[in-house]
Symmetry: C2
Subunit: 357 residues, 2 copies
């Protein structure tokens, strides 16, 4: 299979801390409900999972934001819960309540039954990756992704979103052996899943440790980072002669930055609670950084958007031997006015040039 030449590799080069002319930008959940065209396709699909499981429609919504905005990367439209769904936990999206599992893992019997799923059950994801890659026609690179073993574990044990993580933390403190079995299974499944995305055409991969930040300082390494590290170390890092960079993002993980940066990833994602200048100083530019504007800045009007974008770029400073990919510190809100995104992309591309070369 011959693939089109990549026309814009600024994102990939920034992740590898190579010189680039400007700071690349993409946004977490850039294909999403803030775009009317997304809502139309979603309505056509009937449900979120119908959309995610249909390669043509998933490809369509992946490409939609790139038709409007000058983003430097595309990200596969999918969900971190595809793996537990393939494990047979019975994923359901309940309107107004978010994702839920019909069969959460609560006791030893539930946990012992858990197995790494046959990747054939996730073929729809790999088909979507291949199709998107083809349809992108080399415009920008395609990012594949997965949740971290801990983060998908939270949903698998809790069965749904939670405020206090009571069920999984009860298991963590009371039956750590059961939790380690879940996390180990998740790590194996996630490694196979991301490698299959890379085989299908993903040019970079990101691991979302969205709930790592709820762990205690003395639990994070053992129950989240160790398994993320296991996934990272099992990934193929080169494909068709190009490096496949890996980004790891632990929301709320700023206190553990050195430990996270040591996990083997090329880049670490940061949320808005941490200064990029402070992060660079702590890591001495050992990895690239991705982030970190507050998604709520996009509600402040155009001049605030531009001012805060400049703040983040100035905070990172002269790029030098570092690498910076501009992003939000969390997924874009469904209520975001699309014109705010346009102003953000423009400001980042324009203003950042002075920090490069």
């Amino acid at each position: 299979m011959s693939l089109p030449v990549l026309k814009n590799d600024v994102f990939l080069r920034a992740l590898m801390r190579e010189p680039v002319p400007y700071t690349p930008i993409w946004l977490m959940r850039q294909a999403g409900r803030y775009l009317p065209e997304y809502k139309a396709t979603r309505a056509q699909a009937g449900s979120f999972m119908n959309l995610a499981m249909n390669p043509e429609l998933a490809c369509e919504v992946t490409l939609q934001p790139l038709r409007r905005f000058d983003f430097d990367a595309a990200i596969l439209f999918s969900d971190i819960l595809t793996i537990p769904d393939a494990m047979g936990l019975g994923l359901e999206f309940v309107a107004g309540e978010g994702p839920q599992f019909a069969h959460p893992l609560r006791d030893e019997t539930d946990v012992q039954k858990l197995q790494v799923p046959d990747m054939a059950k996730l073929q729809y994801v790999f088909d979507a990756v291949a199709l998107i890659r083809k349809e992108l026609d080399g415009k920008v690179p395609l990012i594949g992704f997965a949740g971290s073993p801990w983060t998908i574990g939270c949903y698998m044990v809790e069965g749904r979103g939670t405020k206090d993580y009571r069920h999984i933390k009860s298991m963590l403190y009371g039956r750590p052996d059961l939790l380690h079995h879940i996390l180990s299974t998740n790590a194996q499944a996630t490694t196979a899943y991301l490698n299959a995305q890379i085989d299908a055409g993903a040019q970079a991969v990101m691991i979302f440790d969205s709930w790592g930040g709820v762990l205690a300082d003395n639990a994070f390494d053992q129950f989240s980072l160790a398994y993320t590290k296991q996934v990272v170390s099992g990934l193929q890092r080169e494909k068709n002669g190009r490096r496949i960079p890996v980004i790891v993002f632990t929301k709320g993980g700023g206190l553990w930055l050195e430990r996270i940066a040591d996990c083997g990833a090329d880049a670490v994602g940061l949320d808005w609670t941490m200064s990029l200048a402070a992060a660079r100083k702590r890591l001495n530019d050992a990895v690239a950084l991705q982030g970190n504007i507050d998604p709520m800045v996009l509600f402040g009007g155009e001049s605030a958007v531009r001012e805060q974008a400049r703040y983040v770029i100035d905070d990172f400073g002269k790029v030098g031997k570092g690498g910076h990919v501009f992003n939000l510190g969390h997924g874009i809100s469904q209520f975001t006015p699309p014109e705010a995104v346009e102003a953000l992309v423009d400001e980042v591309h324009t203003y950042s040039r002075s920090m490069h070369g």
Copy 2:
């Protein structure tokens, strides 16, 4: 008015980093729904606000946990939303949905009307403080409290609990002048409120900056800490010849620890994401520390409770010139088995003796 002699001042002395024989302990929301006797009194009151606004009943629930557990401090039973309620925002507790305001502050007109409330409207709080102080009969000290100006501001603008803080952050980025007006009014009201609690008998006060951690690194100082600092600097710090220690707790504020510790408080509260050893090192024991076990440890069974309690005490280490008050890193869960609290208090009191003297 002559008050009974304080029989147990270990908590107050630990806050002032004076030598104590063991590490004192109390728990955030120690008077609460995990206790059947609390639920009975709450049912008798009819509603949460009826309970909080009735000094006799508020006194009763404040004392309940002290009859069961060997806590080293009592904390006033009340709510951080009493101030906005006195400002006329119309506080309502909707079953299953938490507190809501009928009149949230959303535009310039709403904000311009806001005023520091007459403290007479909060007399029920000061009456409760005086009654509790009397009924405690010197058993342990009584803590008064308030929310930080930013944290109560979140409820005042959002009108209810929120996941994304969209309304207040839209104001922060789009109309910072309006938000500063709210926060300045909140700071004045909070200062008067806490000083009146001290006049009524509170022997220490705590400021809960529960939502400070959702702010961006470049917004936290300006929109939260500056106003907390204003409150701290306006508090009376001595009463009847004894120092009134001040504790400031910013949940999720670990990255900003040095800045928070510099706000003028005697002690800083920490959640479980930060190691106490790391915090001591960063602050060089300049303030006492309060915290920081994960409340979910209490669901792990007795041996996990004791083991994790020892971990926290060991992590703080030999107390020396420091000061440590043991606590959770957040409020106790309503589902907590009371026997887990008993094991925690016992372990902290027993095991910590080796770290003192």
